[in-house]
Amino acid sequence: MIKTKHLKKIYTTEEVETTALNSINLEVKEGEYVAIMGPSGCGKSTLLNVLGMIDQPTSGEYNFLGEEISKYSERQRAGIRKNNIGFVFQSFNLIDELTVYENVELPLLYLGYSSSERKKRVIEALEQMAIVPRKNHFPQQLSGGQQQRVAVARAVVGHPKLILADEPTGNLDSAHGEEVMKILGDLHESGTTIVMVTHSPAYAEYSHRIIHLFDGNIVSENIQKEFKI
C-alpha cells in the first residue's frame, strides 16, 4: 500500500535548515498495523503528515496504492487523500461551530455522497463509537474521551483503507486511552491498515511492527507478530 524511497524533508527558516526526515525507506502492506516510535522532534509527525499527503517531501519517492504521487499536483493528492485516508490527531481536531453529527458528516460532503447515504453512514459511525446520544452536542460540551471518539468516527465515516493516527491517546487518561486503542484494534480486525505514532510502548504492542525513528532516520524495526495477508 505504502512504499517510500529516500524520502527526505527539510524545513528552511531564515538561516537554518532542519532535516526532519533524512532518507526514509518504508513499506507498509495493506492490512498491516504499524507503530512509529521515537523521541520528540525525531520526525514522527512529519513522516505521518507526508504519508497522509498533508505535507510535501523535499525529495524522494512515495508510492501509494501503486501510484507514484510525489509528482502529483495538490488537487490530485487531495483526491487520493480524501478517498483513502482517515486521520486521528492528538488534539481531536473537531470544529467547534459544528455539532457532533456535522463534524462526523464533514468528510462525506467532500466525497459527494447523497444525503440519505450520508445519514446512514454517519449514524453507523456514531453507533460504532457509542456516541449517538451526543449527536446534537457541540465538541466543547463533551469530555476528552468523547471528543476523541467523535474524531475517530469522522476518520472512519468514509470507510478509508488507511488510518493515520498521531498520538491518538496523548490527551486522554488511561481508561479513555485504552478505549480508543480498542476501537483502532477493531478497525484493524475489519481490514483497515493503520499507521500510528505513539510514545507509549504498551500501545505500540497492539501493532504488528514497531518502527523506531531517530534524527530523521529509521534506526530499527521490531516485528511484534507475524503479518499474514
Binding site: 486521520f87 481536531n93 470544529i95 467547534d96 461551530e97 459544528l98 455539532t99 446534537n136 452536542h137
Partner: protein, 220 residues
C-alpha cells in the same frame, strides 16, 4: 442583547455544593465590546460557556435577543448558538487534514449557502485576515499566529452577531496577539458584539467596559 438575572452555577459532589458563579446580573447591549477579567478559577470561562449556551446555569434567567434561553430545549439552544454566536478559543481547533480554505468553508457547508457565494465569503475572509497566500496550505504548515487568524476567520465567517472569545491570544506572541485584537476591533466597529475573557490589561483596553469576577461574584 443579553440579560442575565441571578445566574448561579454550582457542581454537587456528594453533599457539597461547589459554587462557580453566584448571583450574576449582567446586561450587554448590541455593539458592545466587553471584557471579563479575574484570577484563574473566578468563573470567567464558565460564564462565557453559559453565555454561549454550551453550558447550562444551575439557576437564574438568561435572555438573549428577547428569548428566554433558560426555558429552551437543547435543540433550540443549539440553533440559537449556531445562528448567532461565534466562539474563539485559546487553542486553534483547525482540522489538520483540511486546507485553510476548506477549514474556513466548513461552517458555510451547513448553512445552505450556494457554491459561488461560499467562495466569495471565504475569499473575503482570507483577504480580511491577510492569509490569502496560505489558503492551500494545511494548518501544520502555518505559524501559531496564522493558525489563530484562520480559526478566528472561521468563527466569524457566518457573520455571528455575538463573538465570545476565551483567551484568544493566550498562545500567541505579542505581535500576533496585537493583530488578532485589531481584527476584533474592526469586527466590533462594523457592529459585532464581542465578549472576551482575558488576563491581559492591554487586550482589555480594546474594549469599552470591564467586568471583574472574583470567586464567582461580579465585583467592582
Amino acid at each position: 442583547m443579553i440579560s442575565l438575572k441571578n445566574i448561579t452555577k454550582y457542581y454537587s459532589t456528594g453533599f457539597v455544593k461547589t459554587f462557580v458563579l453566584r448571583n450574576i446580573n449582567l446586561d450587554v447591549e448590541e455593539g458592545e465590546f466587553l471584557t471579563i477579567m479575574g484570577p484563574s478559577g473566578a468563573g470567567k470561562s464558565t460564564l462565557l460557556y453559559i453565555l454561549g449556551m454550551l453550558d447550562i446555569p444551575s439557576s437564574g434567567e438568561y435572555y438573549f435577543l428577547e428569548q428566554k434561553v433558560h426555558r429552551l430545549n437543547e435543540k433550540r439552544l443549539s440553533e440559537l448558538h449556531k445562528n448567532f454566536i461565534g466562539f474563539v478559543f485559546q487553542s486553534y481547533h483547525l482540522i489538520d487534514d483540511l486546507t485553510v480554505y476548506e477549514n474556513l468553508e466548513t461552517p458555510l457547508l451547513y448553512k445552505k449557502i450556494k457554491g459561488s457565494e461560499r467562495k466569495g465569503r471565504v475569499c473575503d475572509m482570507l483577504d480580511r485576515f491577510h492569509i490569502v497566500a496560505k489558503k492551500n496550505l494545511f494548518p501544520n504548515q502555518l505559524s501559531g499566529g496564522q493558525q489563530q487568524k484562520a480559526a478566528v476567520a472561521r468563527a466569524v465567517i457566518t457573520e455571528p452577531k455575538l463573538i465570545l472569545a476565551d483567551e484568544p491570544t493566550g498562545n500567541l506572541n505579542t505581535k500576533e496577539g496585537k493583530e488578532i485584537m485589531e481584527l476584533f476591533k474592526e469586527l466590533n466597529n462594523s457592529g459585532t458584539t464581542i465578549l472576551q475573557v482575558t488576563h491581559s490589561e492591554k487586550n482589555a483596553s480594546y474594549g469599552q467596559r470591564i467586568i471583574n469576577l472574583l470567586d464567582g461574584w461580579i465585583v467592582d
